[in-house]
C-alpha cells in the first residue's frame, strides 16, 4: 500500500505521529490554559493587567530571569571548558569527561537535589570538610538560599550545554587553526580570533536551551531555596493549589510560553539548530 505513494509522501506519512501527538497532548490543553487566563474569575484581561502591575509577581519574574541568566552563564562556562578538554585530550581523558557528563545525567533530579542538600547544608559534607581543614571558622551558607539553588541547577544543566557546544567545536576545521599558527599567531590569539568566534552560534544556542529549561524549574528551588527562593513554576503551583487563583496562574503560564517562544525563535534565527544537535 504505502510503497505505491510517491516517495516524498512516504516520508510525510512518517512525520505525522509527532504533530498529532503534540496537538493532542499540548495544544489542546494549552488552549484550555489560555481560556482560563481570560475567563477566570471573570471574562476580561484583568489577569494580564495584574501581571503588568503587581509588584509581587514582578519580583517572582525578575528573580526567575536573573537566576536563569546566572545559571545559563555558569553552565555555559563549565560546559565550554569540559568540551574544550574533551576535544584536545587523549581518548582516556575523553572517557573521564564523558563519565562526568553522563553519570549525573541518569540520576533523578529529586535524588540529586537531596544529595546537594546533604552536601551543602550547614553541617553537611562540604562545610565540615572545610572546617576540619581549618579553612573556615563558621559554616558557609551554601544552601537553603539562592546560592544552593544556583549550584544544583548549574550541575543539572551542564550536560545540556555540553553537547551543543561540543558539536559546534567539532565542526571547526583544524587546518584553519594550524594555518593561523603557521602565520605566527600566538595560541591565545588563535583561540580568541579564530576558535571562539566559530563557537558563537553554539554558545548562543546552548545558552538559550539552558535558559528555557531553567524557566520551568520547580523541585530544585522548592527544596534548596529554603522557602525563600520563589520562582515562576512554584508560583504557578501556588496559584493553582494553595490560593486558588487559576486565572492569574494561567496568565503567567501564557506569558512564560510567549517568552520561551520568543527565545526559541531567536535560537532558530541566529544559530543553526541542526548544527547544535549534529
Amino acid at each position: 500500500m504505502i510503497t505505491r505513494l510517491p516517495e516524498r509522501w512516504q516520508y510525510r506519512l512518517l512525520l505525522w505521529p509527532l504533530p498529532v501527538l503534540l496537538l493532542l497532548c499540548y495544544v489542546v490543553p494549552f488552549a484550555g490554559i489560555v481560556t482560563w487566563s481570560v475567563t477566570l474569575p471573570e471574562l476580561g484581561v484583568d489577569n494580564y493587567a495584574r501581571l503588568a502591575n503587581d509588584p509581587s509577581i514582578h519580583a517572582v519574574l525578575w528573580r526567575t530571569l536573573y537566576l536563569c541568566t546566572i545559571v545559563g552563564v555558569c553552565a555555559l562556562l563549565l560546559a565550554f571548558l569540559m568540551a574544550y578538554c574533551w576535544l584536545y585530550s587523549s581518548s582516556r581523558w575523553q572517557r573521564w569527561v564523558e563519565l562526568c557528563i553522563f553519570l549525573p545525567f541518569f540520576i533523578s533530579v529529586l535524588v540529586r537535589t537531596f544529595g546537594w542538600l546533604v552536601a551543602l547544608r550547614n553541617n553537611g559534607l562540604v562545610n565540615s570538610w572545610l572546617q576540619e581543614l581549618g579553612l573556615i571558622d563558621s559554616p558557609l551558607a551554601l544552601t537553603r538560599n539562592t546560592l544552593g539553588v544556583i549550584i544544583a541547577m548549574v550541575h543539572f544543566m551542564v550536560p545540556f550545554a555540553f553537547f551543543p557546544l561540543l558539536s559546534s567545536m567539532r565542526q571547526i576545521d583544524d587546518r584553519v587553526l594550524l594555518a593561523a599558527r603557521g602565520l605566527g599567531a600566538s595560541r591565545l590569539r588563535v583561540f580568541i580570533s579564530i576558535f571562539l568566534p566559530q563557537t558563537l552560534p553554539g554558545l548562543l544556542g546552548a545558552f538559550i536551551m539552558v535558559f528555557v529549561f531553567c524557566l520551568g524549574f520547580f523541585i530544585i528551588p522548592a527544596i534548596l531555596g529554603g522557602g525563600s527562593t520563589l520562582m515562576a513554576a512554584e508560583y504557578v503551583f501556588l496559584q493553582m493549589f494553595q490560593t486558588y487563583n487559576w486565572g492569574i496562574g494561567a496568565a503567567l503560564c501564557v506569558l512564560m510560553l510567549v517568552l520561551v517562544s520568543g527565545l526559541v525563535w531567536l535560537l532558530m534565527r541566529f544559530s543553526r539548530v541542526e548544527r547544535l544537535v549534529g
Binding site: S56, I57, N123, G226, G227, F241, Y244
Partner: protein, 369 residues
C-alpha cells in the same frame, strides 16, 4: 417527557429499595433496563456503600495512623470500606476535583478556613447534624461545613544545647541577643503573622483582624536569622535533628517526636502557641453519597479513636469528652486540654477564610527573596 418519566421510575425504584421491597440486585437490573444506571447511581442509596468512602488527608505517617484510629473500626462497625488518599486537600486541589465534574474524593481533612470558604460558595455539603452528633465537638471548632477532627498547634521549639533558659514568648523568638542562632517558621504563613504581631507587642485580644503590613515589617527584622521556611513537617524535624536551627515555630506533633528522638535535646511547650482545628468536610456531589460520609465523620468524633490518634501522632482530641479518658502520660501532650488551651491562642478561621489567598501572596513576595 421521556426524561421525566425515566426519573420517576427511578424514584419509585429508589423508594422501594429503601423500604426493602426489592433487593439491590433487582434494583440495579431494573435501573439498567431503564438505561438509567448513571442516574440511579447518583441517587445515593444502598449500593453506594459498596464503593469505598475516600478520605483525603496530608499523607505520610497520617495514613497509617488514621487507619488505626478511625477507618478500620469504622469499616468493622458499618461494613463500609474506606480508602485513605494522602494527596493533600488544599483549596485548589478540592476545587480541581469539583471542577472536573466527577469528584473522586468524599471526606477531606482540610484546613477549617478552606471548608468554610468552599462551603459558603456552595461547593461542600452542609454537614448533617442529625447524623453527626454536634455535642461531640467543642462548639467553637464546628461550622456548618466542617467539624474539627483533632486540634494541633504551632509551638515554639528550641535546642537546649544553644542556650540555658527557655524562650517563652514570641518576643523571645525575635530576641537574637538572648537566644542566638538560626530560626525556622512555616512556609504557608499560618501563625507566622500572629507571631510577628505578638512579638511586636500586640496583645492576643487585639490580634484579629491582623495588621498585615505591621506583621510583615516585623518579619523583615528577623529575616537575616531565618534559615528556612519549612514546607513540610519532615523538613522542620530535619532542621532540628541536624542542629541547623536553634529555635523554630513548628507543629506540636513534630515537636513531640523531636523531643523523644533527641532524648530531650529539643525542648518545646504550649506557651503562646497557636492552636488550630482540622476540619472534616464533605465534597458536594461526592461519589459515595452523603450518608456514609456523614457517618464516618460522626465515627471519627468518638473519643477512643481521637485518643488513639493522640497516642500515634500527638494530635489533640476535639471531643471534650476525651479529656477524662486520656491516659496519664499523654495528658501533658494534649494541645486540646483545658489547661493547655488556656496557654495558647486560637487561629481566627473567619479571618483566614476572608484573607488567606491575597495575604499569602503578599507574605510570599516578602519572604520569597
Amino acid at each position: 417527557m421521556h426524561q421525566t418519566h425515566q426519573q420517576d421510575c427511578i424514584e419509585l425504584l429508589v423508594e422501594k429499595t429503601r423500604r426493602g421491597q426489592i433487593d439491590r440486585r433487582s434494583f440495579l437490573k431494573a435501573a439498567g433496563m431503564l438505561a438509567a444506571l448513571p442516574l440511579a447511581m447518583r441517587s445515593g442509596i444502598g449500593w453506594a456503600q459498596d464503593r469505598p468512602v475516600i478520605i483525603v488527608n496530608w499523607g505520610g505517617d497520617a495514613i497509617d495512623a488514621y487507619q488505626q484510629a478511625w477507618t478500620d473500626s469504622f469499616t468493622r462497625e458499618t461494613g463500609i470500606p474506606v480508602r485513605i488518599d494522602g494527596s493533600g486537600p488544599t483549596e485548589g486541589a478540592i476545587r480541581a476535583q469539583l471542577a472536573s465534574g466527577r469528584p473522586s474524593w468524599d471526606v477531606v481533612d482540610a484546613e477549617p478556613f478552606t471548608s468554610l470558604t468552599l462551603g459558603r460558595e456552595g461547593l461542600m455539603r452542609p454537614l448533617d447534624f442529625n447524623t453527626i452528633d454536634r455535642s461531640k465537638v467543642n462548639e467553637e471548632f464546628a461550622t456548618e461545613f466542617g467539624v474539627a477532627g483533632y486540634l494541633y498547634s504551632y509551638v515554639i521549639a528550641w535546642d537546649k544545647e544553644r542556650f540555658d533558659s527557655a524562650p517563652q514568648t514570641w518576643a523571645d523568638f525575635w530576641d537574637v541577643e538572648r537566644f542566638p542562632g538560626k530560626r525556622t517558621m512555616y512556609k504557608w504563613m499560618n501563625g507566622v503573622l500572629e507571631a510577628a504581631l505578638l512579638a511586636d507587642g500586640v496583645v492576643v485580644a487585639d490580634l484579629y483582624p491582623l495588621d498585615v503590613a505591621r506583621a510583615l515589617d516585623k518579619l523583615d527584622e528577623l529575616r537575616p536569622h531565618i534559615l528556612a521556611y519549612w514546607g513540610s513537617g519532615a523538613e522542620s524535624q530535619q532542621l532540628f535533628l541536624d542542629g541547623e536551627v536553634s529555635i523554630g515555630q513548628i507543629w506540636n506533633t513534630r515537636a513531640i517526636v523531636l523531643e523523644r528522638d533527641t532524648e530531650g535535646r529539643v525542648g518545646w511547650h504550649y506557651d503562646n502557641a497557636c492552636v488550630t482545628p482540622s476540619s472534616w468536610a464533605v465534597l458536594g456531589d461526592n461519589p459515595a453519597g452523603a450518608e456514609p460520609a456523614m457517618r464516618f465523620i460522626d465515627h471519627a468524633l468518638e473519643p477512643e479513636g481521637q485518643i488513639e490518634l493522640l497516642k500515634l501522632l500527638g494530635n489533640g482530641p476535639s471531643n471534650p469528652a476525651a479529656e477524662a479518658l486520656i491516659p496519664e502520660e499523654l495528658i501533658e501532650l494534649n494541645c486540646g486540654s483545658v489547661d493547655n488551651l488556656a496557654r495558647q491562642f486560637k487561629l481566627d478561621i473567619e479571618w483566614y477564610a476572608d484573607h488567606y489567598g491575597s495575604v499569602l501572596d503578599q507574605f510570599l513576595s516578602r519572604t520569597g527573596g
